[in-house]
Symmetry: C2
Subunit: 211 residues, 2 copies
């Protein structure tokens, strides 16, 4: 069974919401509540969940804890991924400080930078290497995933070094630069400014409609 990307994205969002509901001691939730909180249609929520065999009780809803565990199982990985963070500037540090970075799904095994004040040091207990060592360190530690948080001009150089490790399987990029990757290496990008542009566009549209 192949799950489409938008469905996976919604599952991730359902999962997060259910975790926070569990912490808030909610025991049941309706498709409408889930939908309202995530900005997704209730019918879409029901469709997604029924696809995985979850049928809410009419007039009651879904059992929060059971649903949460079920989605967790779908999203879970049989192994812990070894990750390298390339670029330990402000953005890299912000990522490392985020609670998701203490995930059980992956382990950051190495940091890379060019800053002489960082190279050779341990940062939050992880060793920082020079980017010239990417290929060797990735190979030695069987690192399959790279999180790229370098300036746009450095992106392709770093990726090329990671490719030559022969262990690279996936890249999560925070730079706006397009990068060239071999077929078979998965690539996801976070573009922090598309949302800002969208916000400004719809603000403009709204003002135009009012005036």
């Amino acid at each position: 069974m192949r799950i489409a990307e938008p469905t996976v994205e919604r599952l991730i969002k359902y999962h997060r919401l259910l975790i926070s509901m569990k912490q808030g001691n909610s025991s049941v939730v309706s498709s409408r509540q889930i939908g309202d909180m995530l900005g997704i249609k209730a019918s879409q929520v029901r469709k997604d969940l029924s696809y995985f065999g979850e049928i809410g009780k009419p007039g009651v809803g879904y059992h929060v804890e059971r649903l949460c565990e079920h989605i967790e199982q779908i999203l879970s990985s049989p192994k812990v991924w070894s990750v390298a963070l390339v670029g330990v500037g402000n953005l890299g540090m912000a990522l490392m400080g985020h609670s998701v970075f203490q995930s059980y799904k992956f382990e950051v095994k190495a940091l890379f930078d060019v800053d002489p004040e960082k190279v050779g040091q341990n940062i939050m207990n992880i060793h920082c290497w020079h980017i010239d060592d990417i290929a060797r360190v990735m190979k030695e530690n069987d690192i399959e995933v790279v999180i790229l948080a370098v300036p746009a001009v450095e992106a392709q150089t770093c990726i090329d070094k990671a490719i030559s490790s022969n262990t690279l399987k996936g890249v999560l990029s925070f730079t706006q630069a397009p990068v060239i990757l071999p077929k078979g290496v998965l690539f996801y990008a976070v573009d922090v400014f598309v949302e800002l542009e969208k916000l400004l566009f719809f603000l403009k549209e709204k003002e135009r409609n009012i005036s």
Copy 2:
């Protein structure tokens, strides 16, 4: 004419691509080339552009510079938005260092934080105030947009202060916390870790299909 959000997002991506093509001295581009570079179907590109009256020349494509200007015009705003950045930690600093932050579409008029080493200082030529001053400073400077880069637990407190300025029209949030806003205030969120979760999910699926 009301343009749907996914269309706006694609327009923003077309626009960026066209800017970089202009810089690279490309003069024509086909819908297929645009589609390939952005991971969008060529038929979708043609549909989007024809909706705005742009018909590519068969066998040649679109005129890069003219198309770029046309999309710029659609996306452009008649005014420069005044923005406040709330939270000047690693993430806030990473945002400020980004080239998009030197946009002609908005101006960061004020920074807010609680760190005594930052409050009262100018950071990259912008004054940093204590978050207790959010409402007053926003009102005095007619700041309509807030970029939120604070820890999740602080998010609602900061938003409440921004709401009480009575000038708030839009929020771009970088925290994972859900926030409650009055109707009419636009809200967009950047979730840097959904993409990471997606990457790990599809890596897992891929390995499962190989083995």
